[in-house]
């Protein structure tokens, strides 16, 4: 199998996984889904690091370094804000439903 075809197969299979998995996401969590998916594409960071690492002149290097900064903001910020949101959904309900139980 040629390399291109292997990558294409991986792409096609990922499309199916994406649709199947995401369509199961609880509607309550659509905002975290948006920010979580957003964080995931921050993985372009590894692409940015790779090209920065092998930059051969200053133009390439500076563009790549900008890419590293942007991608890091995307990735780290995305995961942190998603975690912050999901933290609000977790644990608390138990406490709160105890409150509900008090009545």
């Amino acid at each position: 199998m040629s390399n291109g075809l292997a990558l294409l197969s991986i792409f096609v299979l990922s499309v199916f996984i994406g649709f199947e998995v995401v369509s199961k996401v609880s509607t309550t969590l659509h905002t975290p889904l948006m920010s979580g998916a957003n964080a995931i594409h921050g993985i372009i960071l590894i692409g940015a690091i790779t090209v920065a690492d092998r930059a051969v002149n200053n133009v390439q290097l500076s563009l790549a370094i900008v890419a590293v900064v942007l991608a890091t903001i995307n990735m780290v910020g995305g995961f942190v804000v998603t975690d912050r949101m999901l933290e609000m959904f977790k644990g608390k309900p138990r406490k709160a439903s105890q409150t509900g139980g008090e009545k």
């Binding site: 995931i40 940015a48 990735m75």
Partner: protein
């Protein structure tokens, strides 16, 4: 590091992202899932410094090796220092802006990566590589520029109204043709000038594309751009031969596509009309606000009395709740009612607020247990048994025009059928309509009481009135 081991670890990291999304199937597993994804991303970042030589190979072999490691680490550190506080401090009402911004920088990064790779490959690039590069640069630049504009709109740094000017649509079409032509030029010449031109035109197109979109349609655009950025990352993965980027990018592409479609459906309009509606719409008569028809407006005490003697109360939160930051006060009131033995639930419309699931996040922030958040399809049948519906800063999502007035912008959008309940209370500041800009007949209904004022103020007053009862 051995190439096979490296790729194998990359596969594991891809799996961690799949698990992160799978976790979101339920609030219980969601946080763990996100942490798995974050761990995977961290591992990937560490791992890439140990990439085998073939991957860190360079066009001109001389400069290869890890010369820029320190610089890269500093760049990462800088990114962390910028990103983390932003993510920590942002208010939940501002999530759409933040997501837009993060999306934009991601798209920009992807475009830059492709550009650098292209510069390095030079004439050694194969045609498929160039095509993938062109795709990444165009979509990445559009995503970057578009996201920045959406951010400016949502932050209200610029007007949230659709920006339409004479000949606008010709300018957009012209720019698009320019982008495509320069793309062909890049593929043909493989030069740097052509790439620069293409990049700039793409940035311009991104701006022009988002300008005519109205403020509240912006979330749809963000979600669409999110999907685009995902595909960009996948295309970079193709150029860099990295399975991980392909899988991750595709997952994001799928999620963005689904969310975009979902929002468009829940708003009862097509994606096309969202994006290009401003060009074709007859300018709406801005719904002559507060016309002469009589409405029943009440005092906080009236509202407190209505609530106090109800058996079952449903709270319908909307965009105004977010604007007024009233989520904590709402919860306080709901707790008070619950402690009086009243059955309280929240009816959540899928597009209430400005992002899908936005209300859920706001209310979760205020510690409302998510079991109390009831989705539209489940809450609608319960309205006939509901004594009081308290509509807090919502309008379009309860507007019966969606059912009764063919031709109005929201016609066909499923709504919360609050008119079935015994009493309806609206908390809003004026008679102005909601985002869709259309009159809400329900405001004039005899069973409706209006309590004018900022939602947070009004609720605070209702709470103290309730306490005094």
């Amino acid at each position: 590091m051995n190439r096979n081991l490296y790729d194998l670890l990359g596969l594991c990291i891809a799996v961690s992202f799949i698990l992160a999304l799978k976790g979101l199937a339920s609030p219980k597993s969601a946080r763990r899932g996100n942490l798995i994804g974050a761990a995977g991303a961290t591992a990937a970042t560490v791992l890439v410094f140990f990439a085998p030589q073939e991957i860190s190979q360079s066009g001109t072999a001389t400069a290869s090796g890890h010369h820029h490691t320190l610089l890269i680490l500093l760049a990462i550190l800088f990114g962390v220092v910028v990103g983390v506080p932003a993510a920590r401090k942002i208010q939940m009402t501002q999530m759409p802006q933040l997501v837009a911004l993060f999306n934009g920088v991601g798209g920009g990064a992807a475009a830059l990566v492709s550009i650098v790779e292209y510069l390095k490959l030079g004439s050694a690039a194969s045609t498929p590589d160039v095509v993938a590069t062109v795709f990444t640069v165009i979509v990445g630049c559009v995503s970057f520029a578009g996201s920045v504009v959406t951010f400016l709109k949502l932050q209200e740094i610029m007007t949230t109204r659709p920006v339409v000017f004479a000949g606008g649509r010709f300018l957009i079409a012209g720019t698009l043709i320019g982008v495509l032509a320069s793309a062909a030029w890049v593929i043909h010449s493989m030069g740097n000038t052509s790439l620069l031109v293409m990049g700039l035109l793409s940035l311009l197109f991104g701006v022009l594309f988002v300008l005519p979109v109205g403020g509240a349609d912006v979330p749809i655009v963000i979600s669409l751009l999110n999907a685009f950025t995902g595909l960009t990352v996948a295309a970079s993965g193709y150029v860099l031969q990295a399975t991980l980027l392909i899988v991750a990018g595709t997952l994001v592409g799928a999620s963005g596509t689904i969310l975009t479609r979902l929002m468009a459906t829940a708003m009862g309009r097509s994606l096309f009309s969202t994006l290009f509606g401003a060009f074709t719409a007859k300018p709406q008569a801005a719904a002559a606000a507060g016309e002469a028809r009589p409405v029943k407006s009440g005092s906080p005490d009236d509202v407190a009395i209505l609530l106090n003697y109800a058996q079952r109360v449903v709270i319908v939160p909307g965009f105004g709740l977010a604007v007024a930051q009233a989520q904590h006060t709402v919860r306080e009131m709901a707790d008070l009612l619950t402690s009086k033995g009243i059955d309280v639930a929240y009816g959540i419309h899928p597009v209430a607020g400005r992002m899908p699931g936005h209300m859920n996040v706001l209310l979760a922030e205020a510690n409302v247990p998510y079991e109390q958040l009831v989705e539209m399809d489940e809450i609608n049948p319960t309205f006939p048994q509901t004594d009081v519906v308290l509509v807090v800063g919502a309008n379009d999502v309860v507007n019966p025009a969606a059912r009764t007035t063919p031709g109005c912008p929201i016609f066909g959008m499923p709504i919360l059928d609050v008119s079935q309940a015994g009493n309806v209370i609206f908390l809003k500041r004026s008679m102005r309509p909601g985002f869709a800009g259309i009159e809400n007949e329900l405001l004039y209904d005899p069973k409706t009481t209006l309590l004018f004022g900022d939602a947070k103020d009004s609720l605070t007053k209702v709470v103290s009135a309730l306490k005094n009862l």
